[in-house]
Symmetry: C3
Subunit: 396 residues, 3 copies
């Protein structure tokens, strides 16, 4: 059990404050905290691989609030709860409203009397998703302080308008696995680029999450998109500051070619421009369905001008030795497979298909890690107990 | 562990028959039975507060049947099942039908092969909700007697057309906590009053549940509503008889002022008149959507005549020392917050907001108590086992 | 515990390969394998009857994919997972699409990172349901082989376009219980007959499952239906070959009378003709809603010509001593109860009502058995452990 013992020691030695703050943006966490999340995820994964039961709760609820459709994140969250011994209970509020004020405060308390974790996905409204999570967090703090709640549930951001920390950390865990260590990522060039898709309104949280996280680890991060497909300016600032601090690099280019050239990793993915997402939020708030329709049409037309932002074999040949690692949060828009013309050529995707599945497979462990780290001040002790108990997961 | 030991002794000493009847109406239970429900609820809550695992089942299902929307009750029921070690499985039948006969008998059996509990919310149809629960109960009895079911699931009324026992008992538990004991409730004046709301068709089960339960404990219960907003006559009879027997008082007035005057507790809440609910049921049965629309419009107009039934600061000043405890089953219609004009003024609600959350927080424990008491003839023994085992809920 | 010990010995002695193949069609399993499924189901049922916890997993997920509405199968699957210690997670994809290719491969992996079982119901599209399951199975094999999945989930057919193995095996378990042994079924005449129903498009999987399974056990299987209500030709071939091999009999007749005459068991149930289901699939694929409407009307008219295919008291009097066992997968269309004119007369159904409930009650145990047999190469050892451990299900 040497690998696990080494992990447990690393977890024990890092000074972190994960038990005292919700996981809402990766850039609110210190680098040791991010590393600890990765280590705890790996430890849980390794324990289970040895058929050791990883439950840290004998009972308790984990609440899910999905304010947008989801399959991957939903199953990953359900898996994480199950790994920890919590039972999922879904709050189904409908998607169309932006809740605030008393409704949020009250609901947050009403669902939490027996809850140890709350996971929220709210990525539809720019300026509202992350804010909503903070309102929930404040309501939980108040409920706990005033004796309404016997425990303060861990709050996890399962995707918001700003960041997608469970995705970006799963991506980071995959890069660490693929390249051998975090150390090995230093100086590696990652191209986070826009790509054409026949759909509209894809959230900004993945590209923002990637540039906000990978710049922490000394990587050479290039963001590329056609003119007008900007991300939230504040997040660009974060990426710049991160790169400066970590000894990495962050730059923006307007050409996919330039981004792919000599890249070690490429992440071609569609998103809607920040300005469009702002307009869309305003139109949704005012329930202007005619306006929304017009906006959608304009955007699709606009997108169609950039069909050449396409991850083809030719584009891939520009990368380092033509062998960059292709990444995607899935599902990808695959040309000739899931759509006529999309983000990626079928042969490229097929070559990296299993790699993208492995990338995705990190999410349950990352989410479990975030909850465990928020609920237990000494995660190493809790994991050591599991190792010593060695209760079998499959009783057989 | 003195508090728990005292509770366990009280539970042990009361002679009750809770193991042999479903919990469908509080007035079908003896006073010792109601007190035992409160004590078991408190015991489960206290055990969990000491991080003791309260599961009495290692596996098994708890079925939920929600024939009306629900968030609070749904989460409370899910919490209760989780506390006891049962896994929730939801029967989603759609809301618009009144099932009866073979459909009910068959479905009741089909969902119960591995079920230890069934919770039903069915409050849409006057004359049908509680009747439906009894049909389910009879089908379960038959299935168990004839060897179809290996166990008889506990059946719990999660709100019907007549009563809302999990709400009223949670309210009673909160009053006991707030005033220190059931004994202290004797002679306390509680004003169960109608209040204006811009919505229509709110069920009668909360006011009926309150007057049917609080009259059991020697309280001075005043029911107030505008002319025409009557409750089911049979329930008024129950309240009168209860008050006579318990040495309490029950009266009806047509003025909010009068009800609030010198009240120790106020419970201002909207509901639809009994006669309207009857018409509505007939229209729903005959699928007369035009008739339903007309009825709704008439009712909203009628309601609008009573905007002055409003729990304002001025109204509150009429209560005992101006300091009555404000209660609500939530969500309240708060003037200027959740609607333009509603049941309660924002400043009043805000002052009692945390109190209403605490009131609601009793529901999971009450529901768990009802199921435990129905499934185990000696609940004190079962709880004592938990205390002695002292299995941690949070394994850590 | 003699009954259980005898069962465990029988399970131990049979040579089977259930651990290495998914349960997709009963005729892909050997006769010892089918018998082992029955024995494991009985063993789990008996253990639970003795209040022994049957969980073989301490945690893990079981995925459900219902591409058609379901109550009975849904609850049976949920019960089976709960019996084994798995937690259900539902994949809700919507019903209208026929997924294939990358979507299936990817989704199968994305939902399975922590899954030990996947149950699929997909009976809407002739030629697509069972094929879909095999695509999922192949994707799981690939994911496991390439290290995406840490375990290969058991895949169970919860009803497809060809077979309904959990239903037919529950039916067989009930016949074994009712007649005392599988041996006693030899030579017994079972009439699987079409019956009139005012509805349209009922799947073929039940009659196909029955003729495909009961012919394995030396039964005298008579399939009866009006001209034009054919089943899939391949399945008829399977039934003929089975009967030849088992020393039973399989024939088709065009008269309900003839089928009922001297029958020991009758199974009157409506279904749509195979040719209609083919047309329906083509129309659904091409989203031709006008064509679908026309097809439905034609079929209902066609059905109405056969109102005399009705399981009446008079028909029952033709059976052996007038006392054949009536079977149905439920819900039945009961004349004067659930419809004006249907499959069965009310007095006949009422006499066998409890029997049909008992028939249905076998499904949770059968499904649990299938999963256990797929996941554990030595099911007898696993069940023996449960018996020896004797952990109580109801902790009390």
């Amino acid at each position: 059990m040497d690998e696990i013992s080494t992990l447990l020691q690393a977890i024990r030695q890092r000074k972190t404050d994960l038990a005292n703050k919700d996981f809402l943006l990766t850039w609110e966490q210190t680098r040791p905290e991010l590393e600890q999340i990765l280590d705890i995820a790996q430890a849980i994964k390794s324990l289970r691989a040895k058929n050791i039961d990883t439950r840290v709760f004998n009972n308790g609820l984990g609440i899910s609030v999905f304010r947008d459709n989801s399959t991957r994140t939903r199953f990953s969250y359900a898996s994480a709860l199950n790994l920890l011994g919590l039972t999922q209970q879904d709050l189904d509020e409908g998607k169309s409203q932006i809740a605030h004020g008393e409704t949020v405060r009250e609901t947050a308390n009403m669902i939490s009397f027996c809850a140890d974790a709350i996971g929220i996905r709210d990525d539809m409204y720019l300026g509202a998703g992350n804010a909503y999570m903070r309102e929930v967090g404040a309501a939980l703090d108040e409920g706990f302080a005033k004796g309404v709640l016997p425990q303060r549930p861990a709050l996890v951001n399962l995707q918001c308008d700003i960041d997608h920390p469970t995705q970006s950390l799963a991506d980071l865990a995959w890069l660490k696995e693929h390249f051998g260590s975090l150390e090995n990522l230093k100086g590696k060039k990652i191209a986070m680029t826009w790509a054409y898709s026949p759909s509209y309104g894809k959230p900004l949280s993945v590209p923002q999450g990637i540039i906000g996280l990978m710049t922490r680890f000394g990587m050479d991060v290039t963001l590329a998109h056609p003119e007008g497909y900007d991300l939230i300016p504040d997040v660009l600032e974060v990426a710049r500051a991160n790169a400066a601090e970590s000894g990495g690099r962050f730059r923006q280019v307007a050409s996919m070619d330039e981004a792919f050239r000599d890249a070690d990793i490429v992440y071609p993915k569609s998103w809607a421009p920040w300005q469009v997402m702002q307009q869309r939020t305003a139109l949704l708030r005012s329930q202007d369905s005619a306006g929304l329709k017009t906006l959608e049409q304009n955007c699709l037309q606009q997108n169609a001008l950039h069909r050449d932002w396409h991850c083809t074999e030719k584009m891939m040949s520009l990368t380092r030795q033509g062998k960059a690692l292709y990444m995607h949060c899935l599902p990808a828009d695959i040309t000739g497979v899931s759509c006529k013309a999309g983000e990626v050529e079928a042969s490229v995707f097929e070559r990296y298909r299993i790699a993208t599945y492995k990338e995705a497979s990190w999410k349950p462990w990352i989410i479990a890690s975030m909850i465990l780290a928020r609920k237990f001040a000494d995660p190493a002790a809790v994991l050591t107990k599991r190792l010593e108990e060695a209760l079998p997961r499959i009783k057989g």
